[in-house]
């Protein structure tokens, strides 16, 4: 007999094998998932879930695909949360402090409760990256928020109504486009290709007979 535990999906009790994740336990219980299920490997944030262990007060947030079931787990998934993404033209905006004030002014209403950080399924310091955004320190905000999967558990818990994943995303795009130094070698290569520098060479290799290509391939010099 498998080691079983009792879990409660939306308050209804199911007995499931103890080594399952919340997601596979729901499927074991008979659910066919449409919402609340995405990459199943912890990258897409589709399966934001909250739970409480029976008899304990603390409310926890997690990704259903990355979390093992426990005895007495009361589970509710949050398949959609109305995070508030503001639209902008990436080519028009500039990485100056007022852009946050213009697009996400509510971040200045943060009361410092740290509920966002406690709710983060990736263990990020969410309140810290919002603080960086407030001060216009976009690079730090980008770095601190980089591993965000956008599940939205932070926003669910925020008394100031901040859409944290959207703030981090804006900071990352500003950093990637405007703040990180340009790649000269990349720009040079793009220009070379556009000017036709490789046109003949690529034509030549495409035209080579198979045996010659095999010979070339099997004797490539490999960069150390």
């Amino acid at each position: 007999m498998e080691n079983m535990v009792n879990v409660y999906f939306y308050g209804k009790k199911y007995s499931v094998p103890a080594d399952l994740t919340i997601m596979t336990a729901m499927e074991y219980a008979g659910y066919t998932l449409k919402r609340g299920c995405g990459c199943r490997h912890g990258f897409c944030g589709a399966c934001a879930t909250i739970y409480r262990i029976k008899g304990k007060n603390e409310l926890k947030a997690c990704l259903a695909c990355q979390t093992q079931v426990q005895e007495g787990m009361y589970v509710a998934s949050i398949p959609f949360f109305p995070t508030d993404k503001r639209v902008y033209d990436i080519n028009e905006i500039k990485p100056a402090q007022q852009i946050m004030m213009e697009l996400y002014p509510e971040i200045y209403s943060c009361i410092g409760c740290n509920a966002c950080t406690k709710a983060c399924t990736q263990d990020l310091n969410v309140m810290q990256y919002i603080a960086y955004a407030q001060r216009g320190e976009f690079e730090k905000c980008a770095e601190e928020s980089f591993d965000c999967v956008g599940c939205g558990c932070c926003s669910v818990r925020c008394p100031a109504g901040i859409s944290h994943p959207m703030v981090g995303l804006l900071a990352r795009r500003l950093t990637g486009k405007y703040i990180a130094p340009e790649s000269e070698h990349l720009n040079n290569r793009v220009e070379e290709i556009h000017s036709g520098a490789f046109d003949d060479l690529i034509q030549q290799i495409m035209a080579k007979p198979l045996a010659e290509l095999q010979e070339l391939y099997n004797n490539r010099e490999i960069e150390k």
């Binding site: 074991y28 449409k34 990459c39 000269e184 490789f198 960069e223």
Partner: protein, 533 residues
């Protein structure tokens, strides 16, 4: 959290580590690789395949599960769909909301087309989001698109379509620049030089990355751009059949609202299939690194409408899927772990191969180690070999793992395994569909002049095996190209009267071949729910 047997084996791995640190295992010769693949790669396992009995690829083989879907009827057969009631009317219809579909939509929009995306889950719910290791482009001084071509062509067993591969490598630097200018945060040094590494089978270090969230960083940026542009995205709505017109063109798709089960009609002057892969069909019983929605839908839609497949019988098994613990069984362990120095080691602590052979060779080698050679480590769900991750910290210095592959570290720490201190157990996982719908160098299918395909649903870009980092690249290069080409083509396309006659014709072919699978296709979602009765 390892078992006592695993811990015993780890001692052997630790004992040989100092000696292995200084050495580089020999690479296999071309003949050795050939013999290995034929004996151990799943593509050579005859009973995993079945002959296709109808349609343009009749007589060729395909994975048995895919053949079954190809041999099934449309769910619209006999349904009463009023094609005169148009719910969406656009220039360009993009089916699929992953990296290829989003890139296509952005470029079509940039070209002034009225474009919409339809996706059966959410935009960004795609294999793109899960690509970890990186994206190739020959943009360093010691490298060139020609070298990139040679690596990819040889790695794909000289089977790639040259005109497709040419586009892939020649437009790669441009793709990186485009992404960078959209705000993707590539790993760079303080002077702006891209930090690049090797992938299996590369001869130059041209793997660009965004830590080990490369695909996620690209996908969330593309999604944000789609939303900034106000491109309509219809989520939880699946394309279940292409619509054609009386001129033999495609003319849109019938959509299914996944939540209400209502059908909708989208009319379009050009259609781009960007539906991704097929990992959730679990060919030969393999676990998969793929997204929940990876069920080959686009292949079925295109094939039923008359577009041929190419290399539908070649599948990529990523050599390093998680073998243990069971909760993350089949999840991807990025190839970057090996790029950064971790070796593949068997139960006795022996490095049995060079860690950066191409994926098909590496997967076959691991399968051999775990089967005939009996040198695998037993796990609750099967067997695996060690990936000696502590080597990364010894080579790159303490902190390298946290900085370069934070997602991997986090995934294992969830289960109390610290990969900085202990090796991890891996086994091949179903990762990528090398084949797909056949297109020409311009991105259009050859059979239907206004139907395009982009991304993993395409066959022929990589040949019979794909190198790491060339998939994130192909979704961008071919996605962008498809968007531009579809927008152009829409301007000159005049649609005729809409019909679904091809469904009936296909049903006739199935009937004539005596095929009755008892199911309908496309699959849309895998069947994972357990029912006691």
């Amino acid at each position: 959290m390892f078992t006592p047997e695993m811990l015993e084996s780890i001692k052997k791995v630790e004992a040989t580590r100092p000696e292995r640190m200084g050495m580089e295992p020999r690479r296999m010769t071309a003949e050795e690789k050939d013999t290995l693949l034929k004996a151990y790669h799943p593509d050579y396992k005859a009973d995993g395949f079945a002959e296709i009995k109808v349609g343009p690829n009749k007589g060729q083989k395909a994975p048995a599960e895919l053949s079954t879907l190809l041999h099934s009827n449309s769910r619209l057969l006999g349904a009463d769909i009023d094609l005169n009631k148009i719910d969406y009317d656009v220039d360009v219809l993009v089916i699929g909301g992953g990296g290829a579909g989003s890139s296509a939509a952005i470029e079509a929009h940039e070209a002034g087309a009225n474009v919409m995306i339809v996706t059966k889950l959410r935009i960004g719910d795609a294999n793109t989001m899960m690509a970890e290791g990186g994206i190739q482009a020959a943009d360093k001084e010691n490298d060139s698109p020609v070298q990139h071509y040679l690596d990819a062509f040889g790695g794909g067993h000289f089977a790639a379509r040259p005109e497709l591969l040419r586009r892939l490598v020649m437009e790669a630097p441009d793709a990186i620049q485009w992404l960078n200018r959209l705000g993707v945060m590539f790993d760079k040094d303080e002077n702006g030089r891209m930090i690049t590494t090797h992938g299996g089978g590369t001869s130059r270090k041209r793997m660009h990355a965004c830590k080990d969230y490369s695909g996620a960083e690209i996908m969330r940026t593309l999604r944000d751009e789609v939303l900034n542009r106000g491109i309509p995205v219809v989520e939880f709505t699946s394309a279940v059949e292409l619509i054609k017109d009386d001129k033999g063109q495609v003319a849109g798709a019938v959509l299914l609202n996944m939540e209400t089960d209502d059908y909708l009609v989208a009319r379009a002057k050009t259609v781009i299939i960007a539906t991704g892969g097929a990992g959730r069909l679990h060919y030969q019983g393999f676990p998969t690194s793929n997204h929940y929605g990876a069920t080959a839908d686009g292949l079925i839609l295109g094939y039923r409408a008359g577009a041929p497949l190419l290399y539908q019988d070649t599948i990529q098994y990523h050599p390093t899927g998680v073998a243990y613990p069971s909760q993350i069984y089949g999840a991807l362990v990025t190839e970057k772990v090996r790029s950064l120095g971790a070796m593949l080691v068997n139960v006795d602590g022996e490095a049995f191969m060079h860690p950066l052979e191409t994926r098909d060779v590496a997967a076959a080698s691991i399968i051999r180690e775990c089967s005939d050679r009996g040198k695998g480590v037993t796990t609750p769900l099967g067997t695996g070999v060690w990936l000696d991750t502590p080597m990364i910290e010894m080579i790159g210095g303490p902190g390298t793992i946290e900085k370069r592959i934070p997602a991997m570290l986090r995934m294992y720490l969830n289960y109390d395994i610290d990969m900085r201190k202990q090796p991890i157990l891996v086994y091949p996982t179903l990762h990528y569909q090398n084949g797909g719908l056949e297109i020409g160098g311009d991105g259009f299918t050859k059979a239907i002049g206004n139907l395009l395909v982009a991304g993993e649903a395409v066959g022929g870009i990589h040949g019979r095996n794909r190198l790491m980092g060339n998939s994130l690249l192909d979704i961008i290069v071919f996605g962008r190209n498809a968007g531009k080409a579809a927008a152009r083509k829409a301007k000159e396309t005049e649609l005729g009267a809409l019909n679904l006659d091809h469904i009936q014709a296909y049903a006739g072919e199935l009937e004539a071949a005596g095929l009755h699978t008892g199911s309908v296709s496309p699959l849309l979602l895998p069947d994972y729910a357990r029912h006691e009765r």
